[in-house]
């Protein structure tokens, strides 16, 4: 027992000669991987339309329940969030919302510097969250994959879709 105590003291002592792992932030900035889980954004699809379809999966995946939104439907048939709110004062940057998102709309970015003096300013609305680009996924467009018809993409025009069936035709 004593040997093990002494050994652990020796091991700790040896750390005196190790390099520090600390980064001297803010003078030195650490390297953040592109998939670092920081501030959350909402991206747009390659055409510039909002990717979010208000499916609510991010909200239900969120452990501190800090995402809230309401579905609404545009005249062109797209689902869209009427409002989309993240309370960053509750967010734990776990990235489960990004995992849950079926349209790659919600993405975490390598930015964690979001201090505020007033906690109320940590509540981000859709306007604050939306960015102008597609984020990490450049080519993905949900409605191109899903079979729901929207304006400009009729039934049968999504990927891997056959022409719609005319039940009144004799050529079935």
């Amino acid at each position: 027992m004593i040997a093990s105590q002494i050994r652990s003291m020796w091991l700790v002592f040896k750390h005196l000669f190790r390099r520090n792992v600390t980064v001297q932030y803010p003078e030195e900035k650490p390297y953040l991987a592109p998939r670092y889980r920081g501030r959350i954004i909402l991206s747009r699809d390659p055409n510039g339309d909002e990717r979010c379809v208000a499916c609510n999966l991010c909200a239900v995946a969120c452990p501190p329940d800090c995402i809230s939104l309401q579905k609404t439907e545009d005249p062109d048939g797209r689902w869209r969030p009427e409002y989309f709110r993240i309370n960053f004062s509750r967010c734990i940057m776990c990235g489960l919302c990004e995992d849950a998102c079926p349209t790659y709309a919600i993405q975490l970015t390598p930015d964690f510097e979001m201090c505020e003096y007033d906690r109320q300013n940590m509540v981000y609305e859709k306007e604050d969250l939306l960015i102008d680009g597609p984020g990490k996924y450049h080519d993905y467009s949900f409605y191109q994959v899903a079979g729901k018809a929207i304006k400009g993409k009729d039934k049968g025009q999504a990927n891997n879709e056959a022409e719609p069936i005319n039940v009144k035709s004799l050529n079935l």
Binding site: Q5, M9, L11, V12, F13, H15, L16, N20, V21
Partner: protein, 318 residues
């Protein structure tokens, strides 16, 4: 006034200021060392190498709200932290730092030091009791039980040294080590005293009175501001005191080649302080029952064996 009074006054204030300063610097030093051992720099922002951290902490402590809970026993609550600081400073009076430095030259110096360090525990018991808080009270109770248990063999472990030097006077004990440091013949005594010393100063791994995982902050849960600061400084004073005592009793005090005696004394003490900090960095805290078991079933028999053996050998030699 003659020169000796000046020298005495110089001694008194020199030791007082030096120890308090050292204790303060130790707050930075400990964190810095812990940092290195944990692969990080530690406090390095205030002043060169973070040395002004001490000042920053002091300003913080002084300007913090000095909160006294409504439910506390207020006079006791206020007095308690002063006890530990006072007793620890007084105990330094008898520690001989070099042939010429040292406040008092008491015949019963050793007993005096032991007495003072025992009184220090009142500070903690009273602080814990006066806080009127369950965590604080539990911390105080632990401190009392721990002191009672470890005090016993702390004293016994020193009896070997006393027998070999034939004196309770610390200066005599140092002088007796001019040839051989007592750590050699009294190695067992050294180990026992070292461990008891850590327990006495309530440092990790024997910091059960304030075990933050179980008791929030133990006896000083309700303390803030400079009252807390006094507990804090008291703890570092205890560390330095125990280190200085070990130096005096086992490591030949100021004896050493080449360098002046005071430097040797300081080096030895600093080395021991570093060991104390290393212990904190490396060892986990035992459970309370393990602590008591270790004290009564291992340390006490060991110190008794040491006492008997020393006495036997001395008798045989005589």
């Amino acid at each position: 006034m003659n020169t000796s009074i000046w020298i005495t006054l110089l001694n008194i204030f020199g030791v007082l200021i030096a120890t308090v300063l050292l204790a303060a610097i130790l707050t930075w030093g400990e964190r810095r060392l812990l940092g290195f051992w944990q692969d990080r720099p530690g406090p390095n922002r205030v002043g060169p190498f973070g040395t002004l951290q001490v000042i920053a902490d002091m300003i913080k402590l002084f300007f913090k709200e000095d909160f006294t809970p409504r439910f506390a026993d207020i006079p006791v609550f206020v007095l308690a932290p002063t006890v530990v600081m006072a007793t620890m400073l007084i105990a330094f009076a008898v520690v001989p730092m070099s042939p010429s430095i040292g406040v008092a030259d008491l015949n019963i110096g050793l007993l005096f030091v032991l007495a003072m360090s025992s009184i220090a525990v009142y500070s903690i018991i009273l602080g814990g009791y006066a806080s009127n808080n369950k965590y604080a009270l539990l911390g105080g109770l632990r401190a009392a039980a721990q002191t009672v248990s470890y005090e016993v063999f702390m004293g016994l472990s020193l009896m070997g040294v006393v027998m070999m030097s034939g004196s309770f006077n610390l200066r005599d004990i140092v002088i007796a080590q001019a040839d051989t440091w007592f750590i050699v013949p009294q190695f067992l005594g050294f180990i026992v005293f070292f461990i008891a010393g850590i327990a006495e100063s309530r440092r990790t791994p024997f910091d059960l009175p304030e075990a933050e995982h179980e008791l929030t902050a133990g006896f000083h849960t309700e303390y803030s501001g400079m009252k807390f600061g006094m507990f804090f400084v008291g703890e570092y004073l205890a560390v330095i005191l125990i280190a200085a005592l070990i130096t005096t009793l086992f490591l030949g005090g100021w004896h050493g080649p080449l360098l002046p005696p005071i430097i040797w004394f300081c080096l030895k003490t600093a080395f021991l302080v570093a060991i104390f900090i290393l212990l904190r960095a490396a060892l986990p805290r035992p459970r309370y029952d393990q602590l008591m078991k270790f004290g009564w079933k291992v340390m006490l028999p060991l110190s008794l064996v040491n006492l008997l053996a020393t006495a036997g050998i001395l008798l045989w030699i005589a």
